[in-house]
Amino acid sequence: MESERDENSRIATKEMTLNMGPQHPATHGVLRLVLDLDGETVKKVTPYVGYLHRGIEKLAEHRNYMQVLPLTDRLDYISAMTNNIGYCTAVEKLFGIELPERTKYIRTMLAEMTRIISHLLWLGTHVIDIGALTVFFYTFREREQLLDLLERLCGARLTVTYPRIGGLKNDVDAQWLDDLYKFTDTFPARIEEYETLVDQNRIFLSRTKGVGVISAEEAINWGLSGPVIRGSGVPYDVRKFMPYGVYDKLKWEVPTGKNGDVYDRYRVRMEEFRQSTSMIRQCIEQMPEGPIMADAPKFTLPAKDKVLTDMEHLIHHFVLITKGPQTAPEGELYVATEVPKGELGFYFVSDGTGKPYRMKIRSPSFVHVSVLPELCVGGLVPDVIANIGSIDIVLGEIDR
């Protein structure tokens, strides 16, 4: 007996390499990680991406500015609306188009609505990964209401393609706004409901507090953005730093964390629910009447009812969709917007023709997945799952 125990204590341990993904429910898409383990401790993490690479940047060089818009839906397919808005904002700045006031309000309202939709999906799946199944059913109940509203607005639930260069596809009606307003009445109570399920949960707290810590300096150096950098206490938000839409006219705050761990990133997103709800309410209350398309016939589509009844407008519509604007100002431009995941930027190199010479998409998830080894090394295998959930990546945006 004694000798056997001696034998056991002398057993040599060796490192194990574990393949995780690309088909794995907790990697939120086709992300493959190769983990080098010493027992349960993670020694090294190597992420492999690119399984969803569709060459959107290459495609964009062969399409005109109008035709690139539907491609942007397929970046972060959970929050397609914010990608569309980001793309349109960038192209409008390149073309020098000034938007009508009503369009700015509608876009801001929809962007915040999409932020709630994206964060609801994140909360449900992140908490499932950690082991609490119930929250998922609660968050998807509210997410369904918002997706139904999107469907009523533009016919699509996920890949919306609702904004247009210089405006929107169609106007919102009063009944729709009423229904969204009613949703914002009840939603704050729902947020509290989620919190009662999660916030006091000892398992959730011990799985998230002090896990995946990244300091403020490191977060800046790595180029993180969105709730991930704010969880580390850096109040960097594109909506405050480089305002677009009507964010400078609304009353809202940037929630930040302190410790930069999984729990603080969770807290930041929960607070963003409240800020977004309040912003939607302000947008609906302040929304002015007026046109929804900018006055720039060279670049913007004519109104749909005129297209269906009037020859000249039909030709105008047809030429813009098939051939696009024939000229664009020559120059290079970077425009960023804040999407639910972080900073989404479009860098255009325009050579004066109707197609972008180069379009670079600065996607937040691509930067966030590169920091994953930094977060996971030294932790345990279950912490890897918690970390993937907390940086909220979408593979469509990483692989492009």
Binding site: V49, G50, H53, G55, E57, K58, L59, H62, K93, L94, G96, E218, I220, N221, W222, G223, L224, V234, Y236, F241, G331, E332, L333, Y334, A336, E343, G345, Y347, V349, Y357, R358, K360, R362, F366, V367, V369, S370, V371, E374, D399, R400
Partner: protein, 177 residues
């Protein structure tokens, strides 16, 4: 600090490195020679008045008809002072390499890998320069302008051979539909 003030500071120190300065819709672009890119970036990062602590983006652009074919674009932002500057380093085709800025900004790691993957620009001193979006055995650099959008006639990715081999025994199952 206004972007044009930063360019004045840069001119004081690196006059011979600057090729030209352009401005488009309140954004300033500085085109530089590639040799001292690391020194210039370190200066922009460390100088307390400029403090470009945030590398927003890093990308490549291909101009096949130009004398120096590639440009590596550094999109720099200062979270402290809230100003932006775009730095563009010229990379000629005969020596497609440039110094890596990973020692200054860790976030450049994957962005440089992507630029290498898409344009074949190699970054000297990069810790882990592998393809990132394309498969490791991929031939060619997809975002170069001379790379065809749909591939050549009859062309097929050789990785398919492996998949086809896996299905050679499918007929033995004789599944009747």
């Amino acid at each position: 600090m206004e972007p044009l003030e930063i360019t004045e500071r840069l001119k004081d120190r690196f006059l011979n490195e600057i090729v030209d300065i352009t401005q488009f819709r309140d954004q300033v672009h500085i085109r530089i020679k590639k040799e001292k890119v690391l020194d210039i970036c370190r200066f922009l990062h460390d100088d307390p008045d400029i403090r470009m602590d945030y590398l927003t983006d890093l990308l490549g652009v291909d101009y096949p008809e130009r004398e120096s074919r590639f440009e590596v674009v550094y999109n720099l932002y200062s979270l402290k002072h809230r100003h932006r500057l775009v730095l563009k380093a010229l990379v000629p085709e005969k020596d497609v390499s440039i110094d890596s800025v990973v020692p200054i900004w860790q976030g450049a790691n994957w962005l440089e890998r992507e630029t290498c993957d898409m344009y074949g620009i190699s970054f000297n001193g990069h810790p882990d320069l592998r393809r990132v979006l394309m498969p490791e055995d991929w031939e060619g650099y997809p975002l170069r302008k001379d790379y065809p959008l749909k591939g050549l006639e009859g062309w097929e990715y050789k990785g398919h051979e492996e998949a086809k081999e896996l299905h050679t025994h499918d007929s033995e199952w004789n599944i009747q539909s």
